[in-house]
């Protein structure tokens, strides 16, 4: 059977030529010896009767007849005896050859199984061997498909091409009728001697050498209580088969099942091996003591280890548990049969580390069968990075959102304050206008009763108009300020002249209201960088407020060099209405007075502080307003960084100071 074994495989052991079947031999020998014996007996009998010396000796014919008959009988019996002896010898020889062939066949099946690594070849070779070994010519093998579970014919021998199409077995199951499927279902050898209920497709059509209604022998190829295929033999009815042949068929079937299983396992092993090789995941097999038994390429690459260098190393030398930092000891980590997920910190051979998310499973060591651990892990550094980036983005988004929210709030607040500003500007302008229009109308309609009253009305109109003008200036200042167009000419100079000028401007107003107004300035210059006009504006506002909000008592202005000479402080104190504590934080916003209630309004006080604050800050200073509460007075503290004034400035200041 060299043919089907393929190029790579040497031929199987030779097999003695086939023998006749016992039946054939028996019939042939019986025929030969019976005819031979009869012929010999007849010849000897005849010659004994007619030609023997008896005639010459004159033996009476009766005696000769008897003698001839006895002799012939004797010869016949002897020839039968000899024939039987020869028959026996020949038969023994035949048995010997047959046994040899059977044994050789068994051996050859084994040989084929060992050498062939393709299922197709194995099946074809096995068919050849069994056909030669049994002398039976017509065979078929059925198998489950590799991909699908369909049961179908995979190889035939001695059957014509059409038979391949005809032999379609039923699906394996309790209702299967074709003999192959029934054998696979029952896991038993089925010998079908009559067609009976078997469907027509179980039998190939009459073919040469097979005759009608062949005997069909179906032997399942079993692997652990499961049929992986069926070996089928078609025997011509007139020829029959003997138990030895059946035994040989069954033996071959069992060997073939083992062979097929081996191939299957080998294929799976190859697949697994290639999977492990090409897997991006790190695969480590650890023995019971935690040493690496197997490591795949991905593991070696990830750890920057040369091929094969991981084998034999304790896993704890390059893997520690993340978090706890304990050396990785898988034997303690899990009990037999369990799996566990764990994150390991893996150390590469260059000392760098990476996080590895691993599944640890308990398995039997592939070589020894002893309990071992399978570690399948992946490098999650990238994923960590992405998660971290995502988290950062999300945080940034959150922060942006919060900013947006805050900006929204500020915008809404700005809108509210803008509306409040408009409403209050309108109110502030309308109040003096009422006086202007009202008294002008009274004058116009001649409602004044005396010259004194005319003057009184006219004064009211003038005062209201002046108030309007000051309001207008404030509003314009504010608009310029908000547009960033207030130009300050800062020069380091003595501030006393500006302070004095501002004080003089409010002195009359203060004495009108019956207040005591005190100005306390030092002898030496108060040098700091300022714009004199703007400083006067600020002080006029602060002093004006002090006078306006004080009904009796004193208003004091005091200026000094403080903080070890580093700071010029101007302090304006009054004994007026003060400011409720809760309103103090909002003093420097536009129309800070408007706060739910329309009470407590003092004309023109809404914008001044805000403008003052802006101007002071542009001159590098600060302004703070303090009050201990209603009717307990107010302190306004202006502070500026001090600087030396030039000799000229100092001289001028000294002159001016001396003159006052």
């Amino acid at each position: 059977m060299a043919g089907p074994t393929g190029r790579r495989n040497p031929p199987l052991s030779p097999l003695p030529p086939p023998t006749e079947s016992r039946e054939e031999l028996r019939r042939r020998l019986a025929r030969q010896y019976a005819f031979g014996g009869l012929f010999l007996a007849s010849v000897l009998g005849y010659s004994a009767y007619h030609l023997t010396p008896g005639q010459a000796l004159g033996v009476p014919p009766e005696v000769r007849d008897h003698a001839a008959t006895a002799f012939g009988t004797l010869v016949f019996a002897a020839s039968i005896l000899l024939g039987l002896l020869a028959f026996r010898r020949r038969f023994a020889e035949l048995e010997r050859v047959r046994n040899l062939r059977a044994q050789l066949t068994i051996y050859r099946v084994g040989e084929a199984l060992e050498r062939l690594d393709r299922e197709e070849e194995l099946v074809r070779c096995a068919l050849g061997v069994i056909a030669e070994g049994t002398g039976l010519a017509h065979w078929a093998i059925y198998r489950h498909g590799e991909e699908d579970e369909e049961f179908r014919l995979v190889a035939t021998r001695g059957l014509p091409e059409e038979a391949n199409a005809e032999l379609k077995p039923d699906a394996i199951g309790s209702d299967a009728r074709s003999p192959a499927s029934r054998a696979a279902w029952l896991l038993e050898t089925i010998v079908l001697r009559e067609r009976g209920s078997a469907p027509p497709y179980a039998f190939p059509r009459t073919i040469e050498g097979l005759g009608p209604d062949p005997i069909v022998i179906s032997v399942p190829l079993t692997d652990r209580e499961r049929a992986v295929g069926v070996l089928q033999c078609f025997v011509p009815r007139r020829r029959g088969f003997d138990p030895d042949q059946l035994a040989l068929i069954r033996w071959t079937a069992s060997q073939l099942a083992v062979g097929l299983k081996r191939l299957h396992m080998e294929r799976r092993n190859r697949m697994l091996a290639s999977y492990l090789r090409s897997s991006a995941e790190l695969v480590l097999v650890l023995d019971a003591t935690g040493h690496v038994a197997e490591a795949n390429e991905a593991a070696e690459k990830s750890l920057l280890a040369p091929a094969g260098s991981l084998r034999g190393r304790p896993v704890s030398t390059f893997a520690v548990e993340e978090g706890s930092g304990r050396p990785f000891a898988p034997a303690e980590t899990i009990r037999d049969g369990g799996t566990e997920r764990i994150v390991l910190t893996m150390r590469r051979s260059d000392g760098s580390v990476f996080p590895c998310e691993a599944t640890v499973a308990s398995i039997a060591h592939p070589a020894t069968g002893v309990a071992a651990r399978l570690v399948v892990g992946r490098d999650i550094a990238d994923r960590r990075e992405r998660e971290e980036a995502l988290r950062r983005h999300s945080e940034e988004l959150g922060a942006l959102n919060a900013q947006l929210h805050a900006a929204n709030g500020r915008l809404a607040e700005a809108q509210r304050s803008q509306q409040a500003f408009l409403a209050n500007t309108s109110h502030e302008l309308r109040t003096p206008l009422n006086g202007v229009i009202g008294f002008a109308t009274l004058l116009e309609q001649g409602n004044a009763e005396s010259g004194e009253e005319v003057r009184d009305f006219a004064r009211s109109i003038r005062e209201s108009s002046e108030h309007l003008l000051s309001l207008l200036n404030d509003i314009l200042d504010l608009a310029k300020m908000e547009a960033g167009r207030v130009d300050l000419r800062l020069a380091p100079d003595d501030a006393r002249p500006s302070i004095r000028a501002a004080a003089e401007s409010v002195r009359a107003q203060a004495s009108d209201r019956g207040l005591t107004f005190t100005v306390d300035l030092p002898e030496e210059p108060l040098g700091f960088a300022h714009d004199p006009a703007r400083l006067r504006q600020v002080l006029l506002n602060v002093l004006g407020n002090a006078v306006k909000f004080t009904d009796r008592g004193t208003v004091t202005l005091r200026a000094r060099r403080e903080e070890g000479g580093n700071e010029i402080v101007i302090l304006v104190t009054d004994t007026g209405v003060g400011i409720p504590l809760e309103r103090q934080p909002r003093l420097f916003t536009k129309f800070a007075q408007v706060d739910g209630s329309y009470a407590k309004r003092r004309a023109g006080a809404g914008l001044g502080l805000m403008i003052s604050k802006d101007l002071v800050e542009r001159m590098g200073g600060s302004i703070d307003v303090e009050s201990d509460g209603p009717n307990r007075g107010t302190r306004v503290r202006l502070a500026f960084p001090a600087c030396d004034v030039g000799p000229l400035g100092a001289a001028v200041s000294a002159l001016a100071g001396g003159a006052s």
């Binding site: 309108s426 109110h427 309308r430 109308t441 329309y598």
Partner: protein
């Protein structure tokens, strides 16, 4: 007897103006205050026929708390004894929607915005508010 009008006003110039318009021109009996207690007391005693109420009051307090004209009007309108006295709000708060808001907020009878451009209109308005009580009709003209 001319109708008695109480002007609640903190600004002396505006107070003087009301005295001129309503007193000298229209001939009403005008008095001025910014003390809520005086207002409430006068209303209770029936010593006043109409109140002209400013809203922004710098110096007015009621039981120690700063109050505005709206709050005083509410006080008057909540008390059955003083509810009948008509209150005319006169204020420089004159943005769009102010009138409706103030009237709803305080229960005042009417509203006039400052500056008062036409003093004769004010006088007509005051007379209209006084009319339901015939005894309070002021003499025509001065």
């Amino acid at each position: 007897m001319s109708a008695r009008i109480l002007v609640v006003e903190d600004d002396p110039m505006n107070a003087k103006l009301f005295e001129m318009i309503l007193g000298r021109k229209a001939g009403f009996d005008v008095s001025v205050t910014e003390d809520p207690a005086v207002v409430v007391e006068a209303a209770r005693r029936g010593e006043v026929d109409l109140i002209v109420m400013d809203i922004s009051l710098s110096n007015s307090t009621w039981h120690g708390q700063p109050v505005d004209g709206l709050a005083i009007t509410r006080l008057l309108k909540q008390d059955a004894a003083t509810r009948v006295v008509p209150v005319l709000l006169a204020t420089a708060h004159a943005m769009k929607g102010s009138k409706e808001k103030f009237l709803a907020d305080s229960g005042a009878d009417d509203y006039v915005s400052k500056p008062i451009v036409n003093s004769d209109d004010l006088i007509v308005l005051v007379r209209t508010l006084l009319r339901p009580r015939s005894h309070a009709l002021p003499p025509a003209g001065r």
